[in-house]
Symmetry: none
Subunit: 410 residues, 2 copies
């Protein structure tokens, strides 16, 4: 089944709001065997919306929409569908009752203009919204389906998970798509591409390659009658990737570097401390994005200048001799913070913090050190001279080096 998603709302076109619903819905479709072909954003404009629905009914089997279901005059999703299908909306007492209950539960009564949300056309049934006033619409006509959900992500996701996805799963039984995402770091996109080139250009299983802030990702997608057959198609490609890129692989599917590290630490009951210079807390912030990080993360010290570094236990004489931005200082920082905060492992990054040079060294130069007190992994990085890039890439690399040290030594 071919699908499209329409994000509806002038605020999306004005850039006041980023449409996060579309990518979220998109991520749920492959497992249902629904093939997403188009995503578009349309403003709150009746003729444009009507045209968009007419075009959608021609090119897609399912249209998902988000937004435009509110009570105000510029919410026109319902009106546009009625117009595209040439049907007339009628107020449904059942929906009015539900809306009135919704407001009553909040100690207030339904404002008059919310009654517009109780409209349905003959081809549509309503989808209950437990988290807001806008009911969804599930419309079927001429073998096509239009599913309208509210715009606020909280309402949207709850409606999708509780009502839309289960009903879609009942409906669709023909084909399954399975995706496997394999994440590497340490080889360039071009080099990875070359090593496994014979798998590119095949439609099923499809192999994609993506360059991300946390390395090069390989994605294998297989379609088949059932999950077992789809997995069997993925296996040979995955095996080849493992054989040829094994040491560079650090994670799978949705895993982030901080989750991968968290898993390794938790499995072994190890704890971690961090000292950062040049990444300004980005590494510590990533680590604590893992919900249970409190169980293994001891703390972080973010030094933004050498006086702070010495205030936190790094010997000033050493920094003067080797430079703050040096592998030697990175190693000292990692071991110092490990000991001071009583952790099993220490990670440190030091580099040119920007905006300009530092110690005569260029922006983009950084050193990573990870240590358990006995073994240490060191790395020098030379990145494009942008502070944003450094804050994004150095923490990921440091986490992956840390994971490698843990895997190597236990």
């Amino acid at each position: 089944m071919k699908a499209e998603i329409m994000g509806i709302g002038t605020e999306l076109l004005m850039g006041e709001l980023t449409d996060t619903n579309s990518s979220w819905i998109a991520s749920r479709l492959p497992a249902l065997g629904i093939e997403l072909q188009w995503v578009s954003i349309t403003g709150d404009d009746l003729p444009k919306l009507t045209e968009a629905f007419k075009r959608g009914m021609e090119r897609s089997d399912i249209i998902f929409t988000t937004g435009g279901l509110g009570p105000t005059q510029d919410d026109l999703t319902r009106e546009a569908i009625a117009s595209a299908l040439e049907e007339t909306p009628v107020i449904q007492q059942e929906v009015v009752d539900d809306l009135e209950r919704y407001f009553a539960a909040r100690g207030t009564s339904m404002p008059q203009h919310n009654i517009k949300q109780a409209n349905l056309i003959p081809s549509a049934k309503w989808i209950i919204n437990k988290n807001g006033t806008a009911p969804g619409w599930w419309t079927e006509r001429d073998g096509k389906i239009i599913i309208c959900m509210p715009g606020p992500p909280g309402e949207n996701r709850a409606m999708w998970e509780e009502q839309v996805e289960p009903e879609l799963a009942n409906l669709i039984e023909d084909e399954v798509t399975i995706t496997r995402n394999i994440k590497t770091m340490g080889m360039s996109e071009g080099a990875v591409d070359e090593v496994i080139s014979e798998f590119f250009g095949i439609e099923n299983p499809y192999l994609g390659i993506y360059s991300k802030a946390d390395g090069i990702h390989l994605r294998v997608i297989a379609r088949a009658k059932d999950g077992v057959s789809a997995l069997a198609m993925i296996q040979p490609v995955e095996r080849a990737i493992h054989e040829r890129l094994g040491p560079y692989i650090w994670g799978y599917d949705d895993e982030t570097p901080e989750q991968s590290v968290g898993k390794s630490l938790t499995e072994r009951g190890l704890t971690l401390a961090v000292m950062e210079m040049c990444t300004g807390g980005a590494l510590t912030n990533a680590i604590t994005n893992v919900p249970n990080s409190i169980s293994y993360f001891k703390g972080g010290i973010i030094a933004h200048e050498d006086t702070t570094l010495s205030a936190t236990g790094v010997p000033k004489a050493e920094m003067e001799r080797y430079g703050v931005v040096s592998q030697h200082t990175a190693n000292t920082m990692a071991d110092t913070v490990r000991r001071n905060l009583n952790a099993d492992l220490g990670v440190a990054v030091t580099g040119v913090p920007g905006p300009g040079e530092f110690e005569g060294k260029p922006l983009g130069l950084a050193y990573i050190s990870v240590t358990n007190g006995h073994q240490t992994r060191e790395l020098e990085m030379r990145l494009p001279p942008r502070q944003v890039t450094i804050k994004r890439r150095v923490p990921n690399q440091a986490l992956i080096e840390l994971r490698r040290l843990i895997e190597e030594t236990s």
Copy 2:
């Protein structure tokens, strides 16, 4: 001029990546007087992309694209434009040279297949990419413009700001739209709405109200023949907002709380140190996102448990008496870090870090303290019990409290 934006990439259709470029570009268009009519996402599929460009050339004056400019086989933006315009791409030595310089600066040589990024068709000129290997394309044919930028947001935004926007501004001269964004914190959306209600519902100047992680934003948009007239339309609304909401305003336009604080500190030559518990580095990370933060930021200590707090100088006896999560400990932390790192100002946040309760206190409870050693501002927050929400909202609030302390005391 009517415009559309095309996000290009199968990963966007698969929901693996959220397209944040489109909304960012969308937000820049009103000020240029460019009217955005459509946003769409298309996969890495040559026939579909070609069709999308043909349709775009019919319905829009300008097409902006992001993504699909990489070196691999599935990067097809260039190929699709060539196919839609029926022109033949030719390798440009000048671009090859630039690519080779890019790789050489990183101590490596250009992989063979990157040469594809040096292609141009006769109607296109290239746009230098200082932050990556993918040059942009600026194509003009039959009075229409296609502007292709790379997908990674860092590369995309730099190219937009340094090259695309200035060139567009030269090109477009008919109507000007000016936007003024006024940011408040401390009043609810409903209360702000009531105080300035008479300005809502007018088309030009338009007043919008938005609830964000850093407070309630008011946006005034005016369209006129020239900048002076548009500004004159904005002024009375802005003046009323100032009169009625003055003490709650903390910033303007694109300013973030960390930029607003950075400005206040820089103007007064003051320095800052931070201690965080429960926000795990999010506050420090925000502060160091300001490019010149090195000039005023002394450092941060991220304590993830009470033993770490005491290792960094907070007296254990006090924490036992008052609790780690208390206003008293927040105040002690702020003053301790201020003194230890030799800063003029100290900011501390302490709260329940999650995932569950802590000291019998609920997730969502947090205390903020900002001090200059003489005056202190305190704040208790009770947020929804979600770690993500806490990491987003507590740092913003702490920064705004800090700014208030600086403004009050100097």
